[in-house]
């Protein structure tokens, strides 16, 4: 209420409202700008040697060129493809299995320890194991990332179903819904918000593991490969540009899922 009042009194003074508006619109840019300024200050002051830390402008300029004329775009696409593939496989297996486990609590309790155990095991610890089974291949990277996605998604879907609002299930039952109808019309929908939490975590995890796998499981393409190569041949501008792209990719995927969440699970939190 008081905020509205302040806004009105300012609106009556022409010119006073403009800077106010600017401030609030630009606020989200403050952090990134401060970060770039800090980066620039450190690199310009030569506290860190130039071979280790190029200036942000050089890096961003290089990023643009490497995307347009170089192979950065292709490497990004490879990483994105691997991430989406492993995410897709993990989600396609994880959601139905999670919902199935969740709707049978006894079944879930019997596998709960296994799921929790593997969920808590760092995926990177399993990389050698996956190398033994799948060799140093593309399938390997997708398999290990997909496995992690699968666990996260299955766990969240199962909990979504188990925590379904009791009253809604009873309401459906008293209206004459069969077990299957309760499952199809209520449980699935009740689990969706939590399932989406799992999917969002899943896509982030997929990217993390794909990039790690590209670093350490012999690879000649992908952002992870590019980053580690930039470090080894001391082409640091390329390394920083690739890190930025990986970050942007992760951020974009996250935003995409947030938007999808808002639109598809429109009732969430209401």
């Amino acid at each position: 209420m008081s905020v509205v009042g302040v806004g009105r009194s300012i609106a009556r003074m022409p010119g006073a409202i403009a800077p106010r508006l600017h401030w609030s619109v630009l606020l989200p840019l403050a952090g990134p700008l401060a970060f770039l300024a800090l980066w620039w200050a450190v690199s310009a002051s030569h506290v860190v040697r130039a071979v280790l830390l190029p200036s942000p402008f050089e890096t961003l300029g290089y990023l643009g060129t490497a995307f347009v004329h170089g192979t950065l775009g292709a490497d990004t696409l490879v990483t994105l493809t691997r991430t989406l593939l492993s995410f897709g496989i993990g989600a396609l297996l994880g959601v139905p299995l999670g919902v199935a486990f969740g709707s049978n609590e006894r079944l879930y309790r019997s596998v709960e320890f296994l799921i929790d155990f593997f969920r808590s095991t760092p995926a990177s610890a399993l990389i050698p194991l996956f190398i033994l089974f799948f060799g140093i291949t593309d399938i390997n990277k997708i398999a290990i990332a997909g496995f992690s996605v699968f666990l996260i998604v299955m766990f969240n879907s199962a909990y979504g179903v188990m925590n379904a609002r009791k009253a809604r299930i009873l309401a459906a039952r008293v209206m004459g819904a069969s077990r299957f109808q309760v499952f199809r019309d209520v449980l699935i929908f009740e689990s969706l918000p939590q399932t989406f939490v799992g999917l969002r975590n899943g896509i982030s995890t997929a990217l993390v593991i794909v990039v790690v796998a590209e670093m350490f499981i012999g690879s000649d393409q992908g952002l992870g490969h590019r980053i580690i190569e930039g470090e080894q041949i001391l082409h640091v501008t390329d390394m920083y540009a690739s890190i930025l792209v990986a970050g942007l990719l992760g951020y974009a995927l996250n935003v995409l899922f947030m938007i999808a969440d808002k639109r598809l699970i429109h009732w969430n939190g209401k």
Binding site: R165, K166, A167, R168, L170, A171, A172, R173, V174, M175, G176, A177, S178, Q181, D185, V186, F189, L192, H266, W267, K270
Partner: protein, 264 residues
């Protein structure tokens, strides 16, 4: 028949529509009901009133098949309660409506579940809305509506499949005063229009008397019926009857019984 200030306890009824006999129910070894009996008359509005935690919700949940009981029988319309068509309105509309469906789809759901053809679903819901002069915008999602509108949608949903009996568990307790009056009036209109056997749990004695043809007064646990009180003032009832002698006497009588019960 009933003298203005006299209140009549009812004898056992023969025209009972819901007949509960020998009902046992305990939670974790603690008995709530032991050899409990209840008759609910056909086509009447029955309200259930009793101390906190005496098992009012448990009772209508058992009668509507939502929770199991340990022993006894529940008959609705002369048949086992499991084959009866039941409308049930929950205390918490927010947790019992389906927020992923529009209000209209919520109301259609009991028809959909029973495999009624789409055309007939639409026709029957249209009929229902016309009958009760509902002017809500039912294209909205339920979470976009006020609490009173949501509870009204919940009542319409419970009525959509032509139930034999309507159960309501404290349907107004999550509503503010204005909304309570609004939904209460709609409910009374529905009852007047359909004559549907209605059982409503209330924690508000004034409301319990105001709405009722019969007030069932329950005791503390283990729960039994202290008394069934008749209150047969013509409908539609309005706020004026709150000052009416018979209303006041009935309420006072119920309150006296309740106080005596609490002292036990």
């Amino acid at each position: 028949m009933i003298a203005p200030s006299a209140v009549t306890p009812l004898p056992e009824q023969d025209d009972a529509f819901i007949r509960v006999r020998g009902l046992d129910k305990s939670f974790a070894g603690q008995p709530v009901y032991q050899n409990f009996a209840l008759d609910v008359p056909r086509g009447k509005f029955t309200t259930i009133f009793g101390p906190n935690g005496c098992g009012k919700s448990t009772l209508i949940n058992m009668m509507s098949g939502l929770i199991p009981f340990d022993a006894g029988t529940v008959e609705i319309g002369g048949r086992d309660f499991r084959s009866a068509k039941i409308g049930y309105v929950f205390q918490n509309y927010r947790d019992s409506l389906f927020p992923w469906m529009r209000a209209l789809e919520n109301i259609e759901y009991p028809l959909r579940v029973r495999g009624i053809p789409r055309k007939e679903q639409v026709a029957r819901v249209e009929q229902l809305l016309a009958r009760f002069e509902i002017t809500l915008d039912l294209k909205r999602y339920t979470y976009e509506m006020s609490g009173g509108q949501q509870q009204l949608v919940a009542i319409l949903r419970a009525l959509a499949a032509d139930p034999e009996v309507l159960f309501l568990d404290e349907p107004f307790s999550a509503l503010d005063y204005e909304m309570t009056l609004y939904v209460r009036d709609r409910l009374q209109a529905v009852f007047l229009e359909t004559g549907l056997t209605t059982v409503l749990v209330s924690h508000d004695l004034e409301e319990a008397v105001y709405l009722a043809d019969r007030i069932v007064l329950l005791s503390k646990r283990p729960t039994r019926v202290v008394e069934t009180i008749a209150y047969e003032t013509p409908r539609p009832r309005t706020a004026e009857i709150l000052a009416d002698g018979r209303f006041v006497a009935t309420k006072q009588h119920a309150l006296d019984l309740f106080r005596a019960e609490m002292r036990r």
